[in-house]
């Protein structure tokens, strides 16, 4: 079994994309900006998957979705997981986001292994992670701001009402949806709905966004807009943000710092040029 992992010795800086593969960072138009932490010898990863194995039972057969997978997400980094449908991408994201417990291995967040109690996991989902899904995952019959405010309701100190709406307005402004607070989501286009989903991630200021096929249902222009938004968020030099994308949309490749292929449960780091070819 071949296991391709991120070499921890290379993980000194999110901008050291060139170290990971043959792709030159300067050759990438969407290269990450210099990190404020550049020069630090040890950068703590935002998220680490250590020897994660997960299997599904389907009738009598056992399907290995993830086989001893290791992965690190550094600050300001955009990691892309590519692979065929049913290849385990969503499973990997769910394990990253504490939505699913792996059979083996551990998930480390900011250097710590959180306990697996349901309330602790819920707290992590709320404070550390933001989720974007292919199907937009928005509540059509609610107003835009009500959709965006959901994470605020589950904070340790929940925020409701006017204060929540004000925070939602700020988040919506970041995704160019200022003034749409009171519009019903059902009245928005697909691209706008996805931006509402992004605003919902941003409103709680998470450090990691897990995006599952975020551009799959979008046209080229909307896909570009969404990826630009996400890239700008991840590469914000003033914050410790990181983004993991699961996709088979090749349009996303130029926006990513590292690209992995997930097939038959095995995670393999890919060359971007190879993928683009």
């Amino acid at each position: 079994m071949t296991i391709h992992t991120t070499d921890s010795t290379l993980a000194t800086d999110s901008t050291t994309v060139v170290n990971y593969d043959t792709v030159s960072a300067t050759a990438n138009p969407t290269q990450s900006p210099a990190s404020p932490e550049e020069g630090n010898t040890m950068i703590q990863p935002l998220l680490e998957l250590k020897r994660i194995t997960h299997r599904y039972h389907q009738g009598d057969s056992v399907i290995t979705a993830l086989d001893t997978v290791n992965l690190e997400l550094l600050p300001h980094e955009i990691v892309c997981i590519m692979g065929p449908s049913g290849g385990g991408k969503t499973t990997l994201l769910n394990i990253c986001g504490f939505l699913l417990q792996p059979d083996h291995g551990k998930v480390v967040v900011n250097g710590k292994v959180p306990d697996q109690s349901s309330s602790r996991r819920a707290r992590l989902r709320n404070q550390v992670f933001g989720y974007i899904r292919q199907d937009y995952a928005v509540i059509d019959h609610d107003k835009v701001w009500q959709n965006v405010a959901i994470p605020l309701e589950y904070r340790k100190k929940p925020i409701y009402g006017h204060k929540a709406k004000a925070l939602c307005s700020q988040a919506l402004a970041k995704v160019n949806l200022a003034g749409k607070e009171n519009v019903r989501v059902s009245q928005l286009s697909g691209g706008q709905k996805q931006r509402v989903a992004i605003a919902r991630c941003l409103v709680n200021d998470p450090s990691i966004i897990l995006a599952d096929e975020p551009t799959a249902a979008l046209d080229h222009e909307n896909a570009q807009e969404i990826m630009t938004l996400l890239r700008d968020w991840a590469h914000d030099p003033t914050q410790r943000h990181g983004l993991i994308l699961a996709t088979h949309d090749p349009r996303i490749i130029p926006y990513c710092d590292r690209i992995f292929s997930l097939q038959d449960g095995t995670l393999t780091q890919e060359s971007a040029t190879h993928l683009q070819a």
Partner: protein, 366 residues
Amino acid sequence: MRQFGHEVGNGIALVANHFIQVITIMMLMGLVCFSIGMNLPIVTDKAIALYQSQELRAHDPVYFTAYYDDTREKTEDQASVNILANELTKGTAVSYISNDIELSHKDFANRHHVFIVMGSKANLAVFGIPHPQSTKPRAYLGSALTETSINLPIAGYKLTAREHLPANASFFSPHGFGESFAHYVVIVLPPSALLRMDEAEKENALFNTVFLMNEPSHISDHDLSAFLHSCHRRGMDFIPQNLSVDLPEQFRKVVAFTISYVVPSLALLILVFFLFYSLGKTLVREEMTELRIRYLFGATLGSLSIRVITFLLLSLVIPAVLPTALLAYWAQEKFVIPGIIILIFTAIVFVLCTLTSMRTIKRSIS
């Protein structure tokens, strides 16, 4: 606590999105409760009475069908009344008066239906009455009557009905089927009281006479002949009928009658309950996106279950129970059984929908 209140509040708010389903559930449950509530007592009264008539049947009873000849001159012949009173005293007959009681006294028994039973074997005809063997004059209120007491001056007695009969008290008439005593005032009188009744009451008692022919001292052929002749002189031609022979036929009629009520009610019940369950699942499915999103962004299954339970209580349970409760308030005893059926089913659907929604959330997330 604040989070709990918030989840409850949001569960309430969700109901507003499902106004049409809520109204549909209310109408469906109201319909099914009303339908069963109206049909079930009719069926059960008759079935219970017929079942209980087995005891009467064991006494080889003879009753009479009457033909009235209005062209003939009638007399108030007392021989038949005396024979009946004598047989009642011996315990070889039972009789009752269900119509034409105290015609001159319009407000008698607060204008409720009155049923008078006579004879020490009255328990054969009247069921659910305490101490039925006693002929001591006494009176009872039907279970549906709201009065606490009613004064009943009759046949020289000044009775007061205070005690309520059990809800299932009913009587079996060889002439018809069974009927519930729920709305009746029931009076038990000794045989001697018959002699002090007015002619209309006596005539009714004669018509409802049942002779118990398996008793060792049953009515003699001579007395029976005299009884029939006396009734003839009163304008009534009686034809003796053997209840043991007639009962199987009556039983078949009751079964057919019961089926004609029960089968459509049962079909409606099954249909409505499947619809109800399906509506419950639809409600949950429609809210699943929101529940999933909330789970993604920090809700625990515990907090989501508060939301789902509140939502289902308001959108399923209350709409289902409200019409039942209103109907039960309006006509208590009729809707007790359908109310219980609906409550049980609602509880099952509620638990199923809650578990389904929780399982679906967990499954869809992972």
